[in-house]
């Protein structure tokens, strides 16, 4: 229905050969027709009986009907988390560790099921859920499990204490991974949680509730309340929440910062980005092209740390763009469950409309638009990999986060100019540097105002490595030893 038409794609080289469909089986996952809120260890209806439908963005098929949390449900969930807090935080760290290790192992066991589920509900390719999301989810729980009995060694003083009840609001782009980033460190440090998944991707969080059951986690330690923005706002505002963790848009992040003003709530915000991927003239072109593709087309570009601005040194611009376009023409867009698919569906009609509008603005402002030639499926939400050339720093597509498969190409002549352009943004989450020269990598990295810098690689994640942004990309870090601080009273 709402597929965006790619305007006048350049004539493409014919694909080298056709692929037969290679769909991952849907039968490994059993989605119930309806789900409740998970509060105090039980699935329950919303107090006002409201529900919403979650659909598969690649087909618009309704997957399930999910209870929609309101303010009263938020209160119930926070009360359950508060009741559970006393015992949970008093457990020896070694016992909390073993619960988290159990969860990590059960996620590993059920990872194929969860990967298929995530692909259905989110629209991202099975290749990514299977090889990136799920392994990282399990690893995150495994890593923080080990911290639970080692907090004295974490550098925050002896016997650091948890904060209490954590209210956590997560986005739809990596539903289960964002859940892991939020819940694993919170539980390891002895907090209890109320988590609100995004309204377009509630299912993997509800399956996680079942994993908590299998792991024997005490009731109330984890509460999952699917819902819309109003539930998130009620959670953030709840007077008995001690810690707010949010991943999402910068606009909502700022609203949360205002909401918690005057309270003692500890806050971490992981917000938008407009990452610069800087390619110097001595970079190996083929590797750089792969890195650029990974940087902006991984997860359809719906990644806060995406390398959405390509800064290429002028002397190699033509050669690089030619290689990049050739590579983009080989990306396979389509059925996310197909194991050969590189580009899946956009997560929602709303997001597709936003991407489409920003791309149209780019064209209207005079940037040159090129889209990879590919057929878009007739149902579902799709956007062809797109790049803009002739982009200046004043263009909207160089300034605003598009959160889609759209790359803006700018050029530079000197390293100084590259740094100045890379830093010319309200955001400061990620950046990439491509050069064979180690000292240049480090010199440039020193000058970049961004929280994660990838050199000769991009979009690498690991539970041991802290992640988070400078400037309006938010505050606080998730992951690694540093990620513990957000959940400790230090």
């Amino acid at each position: 229905m709402a597929s965006a038409s790619a305007p006048a794609p350049a004539p493409a080289p014919a694909p080298a050969f056709e692929y037969a469909p290679a769909p991952e089986s849907r039968s490994v996952v059993d989605i119930a027709p309806s789900y409740g809120l998970f509060i105090d260890g039980e699935f329950t209806d919303a107090a006002d009986g409201k529900v919403f439908k979650t659909i598969s963005p690649s087909t618009e098929e309704v997957l399930s009907e999910v209870a929609r949390a309101g303010a009263e449900d938020v209160d119930r969930a926070v009360k359950a988390a508060r009741r559970a807090f006393e015992k949970w935080s008093a457990l020896p760290g070694s016992e909390r560790a073993k619960y988290l290790f159990r969860i990590a192992r059960i996620i590993q066991e059920r990872s194929r099921e969860l990967a298929v589920l995530e692909t259905l509900d989110n629209g991202k390719p099975i290749k990514e859920t299977r090889d990136a999301d799920l392994p990282l989810v399990a690893a995150h729980f495994f890593y923080y499990a080990g911290w639970a009995d080692k907090l004295d060694h974490a550098g925050y003083g002896a016997n650091p204490r948890p904060l209490g009840v954590a209210g956590q609001v997560i986005p739809w782009n990596f539903p289960l991974l964002m859940l892991a980033w939020k819940i694993a460190p919170a539980l390891a440090t002895g907090n209890t949680v109320v988590l609100k998944p995004a309204e377009t991707t509630p299912l993997s969080a509800l399956f996680f509730a079942d994993i908590c059951r299998q792991a024997g986690l005490p009731k109330g330690v984890v509460n999952i309340i699917p819902g819309y923005g109003e539930a998130g706002a009620a959670l953030v505002e709840h007077p008995d929440v001690n810690k707010v963790a949010f991943t999402g848009s910068t606009a909502v992040g700022k609203a949360i910062a205002r909401q918690v003003a005057g309270t003692h709530k500890k806050v971490t915000l992981e917000l938008g980005g407009k990452g610069a991927n800087i390619v110097f003239d001595d970079a190996p072109i083929d590797q750089a092209v792969e890195g650029i593709v990974t940087g902006i087309f991984f997860n359809q570009g719906q990644v806060c740390c995406a390398g959405s601005r390509l800064l290429v040194q002028e002397s190699i611009q033509d050669e690089l763009l030619e290689s990049l376009k050739r590579r983009l023409s080989t990306l396979r867009l389509g059925d996310p469950l197909d194991k050969n698919t590189d580009i899946g569906a956009i997560n929602s009609a709303e997001q597709l409309a936003r991407i489409t509008a920003l791309a149209d603005t780019g064209e209207a402002e005079g940037a040159e638009r090129w889209s990879a030639p590919c057929d878009l499926p007739s149902s579902g939400y799709w956007f062809a990999p797109t790049l803009f050339t002739g982009v200046t720093q004043a263009h909207t597509v160089a300034r605003d986060e598009i959160f889609g498969p759209v790359l803006s190409v700018l050029s530079f002549r000197t390293p100084d100019e590259a740094v100045a352009k890379a830093n010319n943004t309200q955001y400061g989450l990620s950046a990439g540097i491509w050069t064979e020269k180690g000292s240049r990598i480090l010199a440039v990295a020193n000058k970049l105002r961004a929280g994660v810098i990838w050199a000769n690689t991009f979009n690498k994640f690991d539970p041991t490595s802290p992640f988070g942004g400078y400037k309006e990309s938010g505050y606080g870090r998730e992951g690694g030893r540093h990620g513990l601080e957000a959940y400790l009273d230090v």
Partner: protein, 299 residues
């Protein structure tokens, strides 16, 4: 109980992932705390010790090169496997140490949890003891711990299982490989642990377990030129001194018995990190951060 005659186990060494007898063909009698015969254990020779070093060295490259996450999962797998064989170890510890069944169960459970403790350390120790150094110059400077290599472990004599686990796990958690000399008097839990390690995804040769006369095995290992470190925990004062002198020949890293007089340590206490750091080397890398301008513009 029926009158059925039980099948007795032939206890064998654990070397290079296999279960050989001693090359010497010797065994010695192992008795319980009331001097009742339990089994015959291999009486390892100097040659067995050398073979174990070869196996440990061979395993070092892959094990130290495995990701810390991978090593953590393997150590956790050991805990999973032990949990399933808990009753066997409770039985063996009861006989070996003369403990009541419930006391022995406490000991075995603590040993399982100790594997979990060290499983969690594999990917965290570098974050505790390593880090960036703010040198006064335009340099990136990063210190990272690395395993020292092949470690000889003289396991505690009294605590045949919890003590044993407490000295093996920290050595291999960081990527070292180990040649372990089990408690001379109570070697059976150690030999059974080898059977658990063999089914826990631990690559062969990472842990090698020898039984016999502690001095006979430890002396050649302390002077072995391809051994990088030695943990003297199970050596008495005289032996510890002799071994430390021999170890000086190639400057092995030495972890002395704590305390030095050999009094029984409290293995149920918080283990801390000193057994991890004792067998680490610190590597520091310098790299210029350079200037930005291609023509020497100092940014």
């Amino acid at each position: 109980m029926s009158d059925r005659l039980t099948v007795l186990k032939t206890y064998k060494l654990y070397v290079g992932g296999k279960f050989p007898r001693s090359e010497s063909g010797r065994v010695y009698e192992v008795t319980d705390s009331k001097d009742k015969w339990l089994a015959n254990a291999p009486l390892s020779s100097r040659k067995d010790a050398r073979d174990a070093v070869v196996a440990a060295r061979k395993a070092f490259g892959a094990w130290s090169g495995a990701t810390a996450y991978n090593r953590g999962q393997v150590l956790y797998r050991v805990a999973e496997m032990l949990e399933g064989r808990k009753s066997q170890f409770v039985h063996e510890v009861t006989h070996a140490e003369g403990l009541s069944k419930s006391k022995a169960a406490d000991v075995v459970e603590a040993a399982i949890d100790r594997w979990v403790w060290y499983a969690g350390w594999t990917d965290k120790i570098a974050q505790i003891v390593g880090g960036a150094n703010p040198v006064a110059g335009p340099f990136f400077n990063l210190s990272t711990p690395e395993p020292t290599g092949v470690v000889t472990v003289v396991a505690p004599q009294e605590s045949s299982f919890l003590g044993l686990v407490s000295v093996i796990a920290p050595v291999i958690a960081t990527g070292n490989t180990a040649v372990v000399i089990a408690s001379e008097k109570s070697p059976l839990p150690a030999l059974s642990l080898g059977e658990v390690l063999a089914t826990s995804d631990l690559p062969g040769g990472v842990v090698n377990i020898l039984t016999g006369r502690t001095r006979e095995i430890a002396v050649p290992l302390a002077s072995h030129q391809d051994v990088n470190a030695i943990d003297l925990t199970g050596a008495d004062a005289d032996l510890a001194r002799d071994l430390e002198i021999a170890a000086a020949d190639n400057l092995k890293r030495v972890l002395r018995p704590q305390p030095v007089d050999g009094t029984a340590a409290d293995w149920s206490a918080d283990p801390g990190t000193h057994r991890l750091t004792a067998f680490l080397e610190m590597k520091t890398v310098w790299h210029p951060t350079g200037t930005l301008g291609a023509s020497g513009s100092a940014y």
